[in-house]
């Protein structure tokens, strides 16, 4: 439960900039290690937590803060209610928050805010929409074996031929962090890596003061599946570099993992910036240790149409001018105009599919920020 100040019994909050617990009331500060003595349950296997649940999406979050924020970090709805006090298994370790709220907000603004960012989203980038969550991870060592059948392209003279390659190998992985909560999708939690485990501390719940946390709710089988997929990604990204061909792709693969004894249960610090835009929930994550920003921010559509429309009009006018130039001008400049018109035509026709593919890729990346892509909601969202 919440630890109180030795001097005045005020509430203590962990300050990432100082790496100390601070009392807002009297200004006193303490090292989490020193406070442990006061906490009667420090060395027991379990610790008490206050579990809050979102009535809208079903997400659970833990906080010692009795004035828990009313907005759900996952779906952005004001439906958070206190659910119960529960004993939780004490994690083995934790990486304390190092990036402050101010730094996290600055990082988001610097990395993601562009002239296309809607004003409403910019206005939502406030401290109250940014929440620090300790996300449960399992850090594991594993032996990994993979076999791949790969297709790639090579050039023979001027023609391109498809060739096949086979690779099989094994490797030992150390300290791979695997997200242990079902709600955060693995392809998102993966992007928060790497975490620097050298800065890990023995678990002490005093670090949780002022932050939220989640409990690991995955089973061993689920963890094994996530770990196999994560190792497959690390392995295959590296393996594909050994293929002497262009556009090397895995055609078929099979992989196996053996997780060593006792994965380590750890809490990793993550800042969540959650907001709603045009009635959709969005979330941007910031690694609370390294400051790595994960996610994107939607664009002001009007602004995008303006740009596209402007370019369209400019090319249209140029083209019509060139065409009318060809029809009405003298033979001398005719050739030159003709050439530029043809060049523009060829470029325009080639640009069409490239533009479509480009827009498609961009939209795919954009959807990463949508909370539906980031989180596996327990409850189906209604309306």
């Amino acid at each position: 439960m919440a630890v109180l100040c030795k001097n005045c019994s005020g509430k203590l909050i962990f300050n990432p900039a100082l790496q100390l617990l601070e009392c807002k009331a009297c200004g006193g500060s303490f090292r989490p290690e020193d406070i442990r003595d006061i906490n009667a349950e420090a060395h027991s296997k379990y610790y008490d937590t206050r579990v809050y649940v979102c009535g809208h999406c079903g997400a659970e979050v833990i906080t010692n803060d009795t004035e828990a924020s009313t907005l759900c970090v996952y779906c952005g709805n004001p439906a958070i209610v206190f659910s119960r006090i529960a004993k939780q298994r004490r994690p083995d370790g934790l990486i304390p928050f190092k990036i402050t709220k101010e730094q996290a907000l600055d990082r988001i603004k610097n990395k993601l805010f562009t002239p296309l960012t809607p004003k409403e989203v910019k206005e939502k980038a406030t401290f109250s929409n940014l929440r620090g969550i300790y996300v449960p991870y399992w850090v594991l060592n594993a032996d990994f074996t993979e076999a791949d059948y790969i297709t790639g392209e090579i050039s023979v003279g001027r023609t391109t031929i498809k060739k096949h390659y086979s690779r099989a190998g094994s490797i030992r992985f150390n300290n791979v962090p695997i997200d242990g909560s079902k709600i955060l999708n693995d392809n998102i939690s993966m992007r928060l890596e790497p975490f620097n485990l050298d800065e890990a501390k023995e678990f002490d719940e005093d670090y949780l003061n002022g932050f939220y946390s989640n409990i690991s709710d995955t089973s061993y089988e689920e963890l094994k599946g996530s770990a196999a997929n994560r190792c497959h990604k690390i392995y295959s990204d590296h393996m594909l570099k050994s293929i002497p061909a262009r556009n090397a792709k895995i055609d078929d693969s099979v992989y196996w993992i053996d997780i060593h004894d006792d994965p380590v249960y750890m809490m990793m610090p993550v800042w969540f910036f959650s907001f709603r835009y045009q009635d959709k929930p969005y979330t941007v994550l910031v690694n609370g240790q390294t400051g790595e920003v994960v996610g994107t921010i939607p664009w002001e559509k009007k602004q995008v149409y303006k740009i596209a429309g402007g370019i369209f009009a400019a090319v249209m006018v140029t083209g019509l001018a060139l065409y009318s130039g060809i029809s009405f001008s003298h033979a001398g400049i005719n050739g030159m105009l003709n050439n530029s018109a043809s060049a523009l035509t060829i470029f325009g026709l080639a640009a069409f599919p490239m533009g479509l593919i480009g827009i498609q890729n961009v939209l795919k990346k954009l959807s990463l920020a949508q909370s539906e892509e980031m989180f596996k909601f327990v409850k189906k969202r209604q309306g």
């Binding site: 190998g169 061993y220 196996w256 006792d262």
Partner: protein, 98 residues
């Protein structure tokens, strides 16, 4: 002009040019958006999690189509099958709740 009525030529030219303009506009817009998307890719290399390189047991270039079957036959069984490990209580408990 080659016996095709002028208005048709003009209508066709305008239609054709709007197509070309749309292509160019689409392309340039996609480049601008790409610049603004800023989605960071994970930059975790294999060396973040391993002190060694992959130990290859098969490394064949330009193989025949039958290789795929051979490969899957040879590596299709779990080499770690039957290995027993101690599993943290929390993970076991989560499994029971399902």
């Amino acid at each position: 002009m080659y016996g095709i009525p002028m208005p048709i030529v003009i209508v066709f030219a305008i239609f054709f040019w709007s197509l070309v303009s749309a292509g160019i506009s689409l392309f340039i817009t996609s480049l601008i958006l790409k610049k603004y998307i800023n989605a960071e890719e994970t930059h975790c290399s294999i060396y973040e999690y391993s002190t060694e390189d992959i130990n290859y047991s098969r490394k064949l270039d330009q193989v025949l189509d039958t290789e795929k079957q051979d490969l899957m036959f040879e590596y299709g069984n779990d080499p770690y099958e039957g290995k027993k490990h101690s599993i943290p209580e929390q993970l076991l408990k989560n499994g029971e709740e399902l």
